[in-house]
Amino acid sequence: MRLTHLSVVLLCVALVSFGLMMVSPIDPIDAYLGPQMAQVSPEQRELIAQRWGFDESPAVQFGHWLRQLVGGDLGWSHVYNQPVSDVIGQRFQRSIALLGGAWLLSALLGFSLGVVAGAKEGSRLDKIITTYAYITASTPAFWLAILAVLLFSVMLGWTPTCCAGPAGALNQDVSFATRLHHLLLPVATLALLGIASITLHTRTRMLALMRSDVAIYAFAQGASRIDVAWRHGLRHASLPAVTLAFASLGELFGGSILVEQVFAYPGLGQATVAAGLRSDVPLLLGIALFTTLFVSVGNMIANTLYGVIDPRIRQGEL
């Protein structure tokens, strides 16, 4: 059932992004030729267009592309001179460390801060956490990233200024610790932004719970605020936190494009920018589809988790 949904979503995204590419001013032949454009005669261009099937109608072209897609062939990226699937595979491996790290950090930290703030409503701690959350919620990712590079990399020199490893070093020579060192700042920047919304939503749910009949009855049984927050609060607050954490996967992906750009981190985000700037149509389409798959799977996991957390949702499911 859910898989059908997923494939319909993927098909729609494929259709829309393909349509956008068709109407965009990008000419794949110009992009392919690059600077050699001037040396090619109109007849030769015609030949390339014919060879690539550009003389056919958009529907037929879409059909071609889709057939190859189903067969697992995403096309050839001329920017990286590699198959698109290989580019996405390599880039994603690097990005997942950044995205996953930031995501896990923001979900766990955001949730804990929200629970603490909500349980101790009105306290000093609560005020500090909320102020922090409001400030970071209104901070743009790239700006924070630039500030972080200036402070920690340039002024203090604690972290490297760019890339996933030392400049010039081969990928297989980079040690795990060095990799972590290079990841530190991008992950922290990206996580810092994700924390805010999860904190604020978790806190709101906690406030509602601490005033609910459930909490008052728990107090009547002699429970302390900590007891109520721990036993009832965690369960109730995890629902909005899970929703947000998984719904923010897309946002995180968008944020990673900016952050990867600022930190010159060679991940999927940077590949997206390169593909866009240098008109690499197959790569752009491939990334669009891959992102859709990634976010949709995230939402599917969230849907399944709801049932685990709240039995009422499990019952309502058909």
Partner: protein, 278 residues
């Protein structure tokens, strides 16, 4: 064991209307109540909704919102029952059976919730699990009900779960807030009998209800409340015949208005009187 002396409660509210919405005003919700509850008795507190019955329960438990203004004296076992002592005794000596079924956590299985109640009452974890099981069995909740979530329970079962949670705490004073609302006659009898049973074990039961008829068979004393005031406190036996041994007109009217007493209403009587005068 519990005496209440001149207890008054005021709650803040913001008046509607122009130029006054920012002014805090105080509504008197309980007005100089003086009551005595002794061990082994069921004391029914009867009144229409809005009479302040549940607020009385909250005042005894110490669960009022921080803005509430409370005056008067609460004494539990001859010692003042202040906020700190309420906090110590809640769940251990004082227990509440809440009115609303939403007091059950919808995300937690029944058995676990009762276990938590036992732990909060001071049982060790292993012991709490067992005594919760016993309490659930005592109220005829089978293995399925024990593993069920709140929304899977019927109203009657949920009530029994709440009663089991009060039972497991071994509290000496149990305040049951409208424990029979929404129950069929058979279930109602079961809950009331359970409360009477607790009283016969030497506990004090405060039975809050709007239904005098159901409270009378198990109650020793009845306090009638109206708009935050204590109208009358009488032995349950005083509610019989024409109610002539009752002191106040309101309690008499309430007693006579019961279906078994021909639904006599004061307004109808007054109309009849006016008719004869004319």
């Amino acid at each position: 064991m519990l005496t209440i002396d001149q207890l008054s409660l005021q709650l803040p509210y913001y008046a509607h209307g122009h130029a006054s919405w920012w002014k805090r005003k105080w509504a008197t919700c309980l007005d100089e109540l003086s009551l005595q509850f002794s061990a082994g008795e069921v004391h029914a507190v009867v009144g229409a909704s809005g009479a302040g019955k549940s607020l009385l329960a909250y005042a005894i438990m110490g669960l009022l919102p921080p803005a509430a203004r409370l005056s008067g004296q609460l004494n539990y076992h001859e010692k003042p029952l202040d906020e700190q002592r309420q906090r110590q005794l809640r769940g251990r000596e004082l227990a509440l059976i809440p009115q609303s079924l939403s007091a059950l956590d919808p995300l937690v299985r029944t058995h676990r919730q009762v276990t938590w109640a036992a732990q909060r009452a001071g049982h060790s974890s292993a012991n709490a699990w067992l005594s919760a099981l016993q309490a659930l069995h005592h109220y005829q909740l089978d293995a399925r009900a024990q593993q069920a979530y709140a929304h899977e329970l019927s109203g009657g079962m949920a009530r029994r779960v709440l009663t089991a949670m009060a039972h497991v705490s071994q509290a000496k004073l149990v305040i049951a807030d409208e424990p029979t609302v929404g129950l069929d006659p058979h279930q109602r009898q079961r809950v009331l009998a359970a409360l009477r049973g607790l009283a016969d074990q030497g506990k004090t039961i405060i039975l809050i209800t709007h239904d005098l008829r159901h409270a009378l068979p198990i109650a020793d004393h009845v306090t009638i409340m109206r708009e935050g005031k204590q109208v009358e406190t009488a032995p349950a036996g005083a509610f019989q015949g024409t109610g002539s041994s009752l002191n106040s007109a309101y309690s008499q009217a309430l007693w006579l208005a019961l279906p078994d007493n021909n639904f006599a209403t004061t307004t109808a009587d007054a109309l009849k009187r006016e008719a004869t005068v004319a």
